[in-house]
Amino acid sequence: MMSSVEFYPVNNPIGDLVRSIFPEPVAVLINGLLALLSLMALVGSLGAVLIYLERKVSAHFQLRLGPMRVGPHGLLQAVADGIKAIFKEVLKPEGADTFIFFLAPLLPVSAAFLVLAVIPFDHHLQVADPAGGVLYVLGVSGLSVLGILLAGWASNNKYSLLGAMRSGAQMVSFEISIALLMLLIVMVSGTASLRGIVLSQQGTLFDWWIFKLPFLGIFAFVMYLIASTAELNRTPFDISEAESELTGGFATEYSGIGFAMFFLGEFVNMFVSACLVTTFFLGGFFPPLLGVPVIDPILSLIPGFLWFFIKAFAIIFIYMWFRWTFPRVRVDQLMYLEWRIMLPANLLLLLLSGLFVAQGWAG
């Protein structure tokens, strides 16, 4: 049997404490449970924080104040909304497939939850670090498109079905771009473990892959942002929800907690996506000026996971900025963007990066 140290290669004091008290098999179990519980806490609190953030950011983009009534500056608005969603009646349309209808809202959240397990928040804050972490991320994040497809299919509503079909086509296409960009990072960093990718960017901010890879890094970063926005179904690529065309898209028939789960899934997925951008391009949990005298000791006072969150939330702000600025693209334009522009560009980028790596120019 694997030892708990092998299973969780990243040690932290709590894990060590558990291992010192309990015998090996029990420690594996307890450590696993603790990790999952902390992830659950993270997902739960993230939902509230991100929803509040989005409402406030959108409000200030739109010359409004946003929620102001519940708690100081509307801080408790997300809690109030959550309670409301729980107590609302869950309606199921006639002719809907009951099992799938209620299963679908759980999938996007589950996908986000599973990806969060391999995100290195800090040196010692990672639930698991499989050697093929990137592959795992790619595989698991497919669950969220499955949720949307199932929801659209099971709702017995034409709007939902149209939304689901759009979303299916869109997310499957953009997943190719995302996979190619991930492959690029794996190639230049020489490892598929997410922790390994972060460790390969040790140094100042010019050692992050966004700058370390001459010219190409920036392109890859921008393309990853675009592709992940599309994958997240956010404006300008929110054609699957498209409230002005499809009223609510795949979520038209959902009410109460089912809708809340989709909502939560959407926001946590946005965080997951920002985490992946941080890990791949922005040096993960490293402070920006590692190794620079005088400044680095000061910056290093901020713990690594805070650096990680600062970077991730900066990316989230960019996603929100997109959403509250752009109009929506049309479904065929989206497909054109992926298959005729993004995909060839990605392949070219991959080719050039390969050249850079072979010549030893990449970092």
């Binding site: 739109q62 929110d238 054609i239 498209a242 409230e243 065309e245 009223t247 929506r328 693209v329 049309r330």
Partner: protein, 401 residues
């Protein structure tokens, strides 16, 4: 020539279907035959009567092949209130408040048109100040309506932020209206011979303030939405309306001018004192959604120009002539028309010599503009249908009346 024969063929097919297929398998109103293509997966979808993008209780039944629109049929009447029938039992003054409720975004124009018909019948003249008030209020209303249209256009295309930006300036105009007559939407302000009340002292300063505020932001609007690459991709070449089609359906307003037909009641059949003002009639070239949008954006500039001229020349003196509690129109029929933000609004009154009209008919611009919808959307995607509906700038209560 090829298009002509195609059109003839289409017309003949329609006739044949109506004649020989009495039990048409398609829902009411659909004319095109079922597709011969076995691959086609056609289905019908209801946009409305409760839908965020119809801006009112309009129901559009769409025949879709996947995402592509095959045919649309608008169903009207969900907000029919019988205003024209009610009008027969009310005096002309009482009718003014009913006309507010036709096209609530151009309530002043509806008032104005009705008043003009009464004035025409009784040959009532309007004092100069009254005319200036009318023109300024009309142009303010045009600005207010176009601002709302612009905000909603962004929202229909998925960008919410435009809505709030448009409302920031629209509030300034609504405040002027509120101070003027106590109402922001259903105003009941103009009367035969002038208006119900004089403008307050703050009116001119407020209008000046508005002009300077709007001049600044109109370019900001262009940057935010109309110059955005996604917006350009979504509107250029979408929903092309040829000038002949626009004319044959009776389209007016920006829909007609977007197709390049130079017709504006203010210029070509001038009423009030529009001849004394210097303004341009913006025209489109291709008649696509983008042209209609740019025509409306340009119209806002022109309205500002008119307002600027009116502010500098605003005269003093009486604001209304010959006020009476009721007006008795001599026997006969009378017609007058104005250019509302949406197009040509006409009022036709048949009088039997009573204080109430025998028959009152509104010629609403929205009805004609909606009728042309099917010609524009065929072959486009579902998302384009929403864009096209939005650039038609419909107000549904005006269609149903």
């Amino acid at each position: 020539m090829a298009t002509d024969t195609e059109k003839n063929e289409k017309a003949m097919t329609m006739q044949l279907i109506n004649k020989y297929i009495p039990d048409n398998p398609l829902p009411e109103g659909f004319r095109l035959p079922l597709s011969n293509d076995s691959e086609a997966e056609e289905f019908f979808i209801n946009i409305g009567p409760q839908h965020p993008s119809t801006h009112g209780v309009l129901r559009v039944v769409v025949r879709l092949d996947g995402e592509t629109v095959v045919e649309v049929v608008p169903h009207l009447g969900y907000i029919h209130r019988g205003i024209e029938k009610m009008a027969e039992n009310q005096t002309y003054i009482q009718n003014l408040h009913l006309s507010d409720r036709l096209d609530y975004l151009s309530a002043f124009f509806n008032n104005l048109c009705l008043c003009m018909t009464v004035e025409q019948a009784l040959e009532i003249g309007i004092p100069e100040r009254g005319e200036y008030i009318r023109i300024m209020i009309s142009e303010l209303q045009r600005l207010q309506s176009h601002l709302l249209w612009w905000g909603v256009l962004g929202m229909d295309m998925g960008g919410f932020t435009t809505f709030f930006y448009a409302f920031r300036e629209r509030e300034l105009i609504n405040d002027i209206f509120e101070e003027l007559c106590g109402a922001r939407l259903t105003v009941n302000y103009f009367r035969p011979g002038g208006s119900s009340a004089d403008v307050p002292d703050t009116f001119i300063p407020r209008v000046k303030n508005l002009i300077s505020a709007l001049r600044k932001v109109l370019d900001e609007y262009q940057t935010l939405l109309n110059r955005n690459i996604i917006f350009l991709e979504r509107t250029k070449g979408i929903g092309i309306l040829p000038p002949e089609t626009a004319l044959s359906y009776g389209c007016t307003g920006a829909v007609l001018r977007g197709s390049g037909v130079n017709y504006d009641v203010r210029r070509h059949d001038p009423y009030s004192i529009y001849e004394q003002f210097d303004f341009d009639i913006p025209l489109g070239k291709t008649g696509d959604c983008y042209d209609r949008c740019q025509v409306r954006m340009e119209e806002m500039e022109q309205s500002l120009r008119i307002l600027e001229q009116a502010v500098t020349r605003f005269p003093s003196g009486p604001y209304r002539s010959q006020p009476k509690p009721t007006y008795k129109l001599p026997k006969g029929s009378y017609y007058s028309q104005v250019e509302t933000p949406r197009g040509l609004l006409g009022v036709y009154i048949v009088s039997e010599g009573e204080t109430k009209p025998y028959r009152l008919k509104y010629r609403s611009p929205n009805f004609s503009n909606l009728s042309v919808l099917n010609e524009m959307v065929v072959g486009h995607k579902l998302a384009d249908l929403i864009t096209i509906l939005s650039t038609l700038d419909l107000v549904i209560p005006d269609i149903d009346r």
